[in-house]
Amino acid sequence: MRPTGEHPEFLWRNPAPKRAYEVVIVGAGGHGLATAYYLAKNHGIADVAVLEKGWLAGGNITRNTTVIRSNYLWDESAAIYEHSLKLWEGLEAELDYDLLFSQRGVLNLAHTLQDVRESVRRVGANRLNGIDAEWLDPAEVAEVCPIVNVSPEARYPVLGATFQPRGGIARHENVAWGYARAADALGVDLIQGCEVTGIDGLTLQTTLGPIAAGKIGLCAAGHSSVLAKMVGLDVPIQSHPLQALVSELYEPVLDTVVMSNAVHVYVSQAHKGELVMGAGVDPFISYAQRGSFHVIEHQLAAALELFPIFAQARVLRTWAGVVDVCPDASPIVGPTPVEGLYLNCGWGTGGFKATPGSGWAFAWTLAHGEPHELNAPFSLERFTTGALIDEHGAAAVAH
C-alpha cells in the first residue's frame, strides 16, 4: 500500500520531443494511442510520437458513453466494427490492464413499424456477417431489461428490439491509459501540451518546436478540419457538440445497454452506479465542447418515457465532446492526396467502440502506405465516386 499523499507511479514517461520521428500521430485520444500501440506492436515501428495539444485522453475518448457494439447494417461497417469487437474481447489480456470491459448486451429498441422493419432487416444482415444478433418481441425485451416500460400505453410503445449479447461497455479512460502505457513501454513518445500550429511538407510546427516526420497520421476527431486546412486539404466533416450526462450513484438497476433511435437516448449503468446517458448532436457547428441545455432536457424526457423508475434520479454532471460527422456517418481512414499524410477521422458519434479496430487498421495503413482491406472502403475518394457507406439510419444510433 502506498502512503497517503504520495503520487502514484506514472503510467508513461513524459519525454521531450525528438526533432524527427518515423511516424508522428496528431492526437492522443483513443484512436491516436491505439494507432501508436499497433504500429509498435504489430509492425515493429516504435520510432513514433503522439502529439497532444492538451492532456492525454482529454477529448472524446473520455467524453463518450462507452457503448461497444458491431451491429451495423452494411458489410463494410460490419467488418471493421466486428474486427474491433473481437479485439475488445482480448484487449484486457493484451494490454495487461483492467478496462472494466463488460459484455452485458446492447438493446436497440424499435418504436414504429419502420423501426421494426429496419431492425429485422439489420438482424438478418448482421447474421449473414457472422455478428450475433437477435430480434426480441416486447415480452422478451422485458425479460432482458425489466425496467424498460413495454406497456402499449407508452407514448412511443416498444414494439420490439434488436439485441447484440456481445455488445457492452468499458471504462473509457482506462482504455486510453492502457493503450498509452503499452505504447510507451514499446518506445512510443507521448508528448502532451504540444499543439500543432502548422504543417510544412512533412514537418510539423508545434508549440514545442518543429518536428519532422516520415509519415503523419491525423487522429484529431473534431479538429481534423483545422489540421487538414494547414496543408490545404478539405475534408467533408462538420464538427458538432455531442452531449452526455451521468446521474448520481444508484444501486444496480440496469445490467444491459438500451438505445432508442426514435426517442433519442441511450442508457447504461456504469460499474460505480451512475446512469450514463447520451443524446443526439446539437444541430450547429461548434468547437466549444458544450451544447445547449434543451438537448439534455429532450434526452431526459425520452429516458423517463422509457424508464419511469428514473423519475427520482438526479443529474450529476453534463458535458459535450466535439464530434466529427461525415455526410454518410461513416469514417475516413486512409491516405490523402498529400504525400505522407494519412487521415483517421469522421467517426462522429460512434468512435469509442471502434477504438481498437480503427487503431489496428490505421497502423496497418501507415506501415504499408496503403489501406488495409478493412478500411479501404472508408476512403476520402468515396465522396467523389459516390460509393458512400450510409449508416445514418442504419447504424441503429440516435443521430
Binding site: 479538429h223 478540419s225 483545422v226 478539405d234 475534408v235 467533408p236 466533416i237 462538420q238 464538427s239 444541430p283 450547429f284 457547428i285 461548434s286 468547437y287 466549444a288 445547449s292 441545455f293 434543451h294 455526410p327 465522396f383 467523389t384 465516386t385 459516390g386
Partner: protein, 83 residues
C-alpha cells in the same frame, strides 16, 4: 441555450429556430457540366472553421423567415446581417 437575434422578431431562444447550415453555398448554375469531383465537392464538402462562420437559420416557431448570421464556433457569439 443560444439567444438568437431574429432580424424581425428580436432575440429569441434557440428552440424557436432551426439551423440551416452554412450560408453562401449556391446551387451550381449548370449541374450537368460539373465533373464528378466538382459535384462531390458541392454535395459533401462544407467549411468547418474554428472561429467566425456564416450560417443560415429559420425562425421556425416565429415569423418563419430565413436569415443569415455570423456565429463564432468557439464562443457562440452572434452577429446578424440584415439582407
Amino acid at each position: 441555450m443560444i439567444l438568437i437575434p431574429c432580424p424581425w422578431c428580436g432575440e429569441r431562444d434557440e428552440t424557436e429556430f432551426s439551423c440551416g447550415g452554412p450560408a453562401g453555398v449556391p446551387y451550381p448554375s449548370d449541374p450537368a457540366a460539373l465533373s464528378d469531383e466538382e459535384w462531390g465537392t458541392y454535395l459533401f464538402f462544407r467549411d468547418n472553421p474554428r472561429g467566425p462562420f456564416r450560417e443560415r437559420w429559420v425562425h421556425t416557431h416565429g415569423c418563419r423567415r430565413w436569415f443569415e448570421l455570423t456565429r463564432d464556433t468557439v464562443t457562440h457569439e452572434i452577429h446578424v446581417r440584415r439582407d
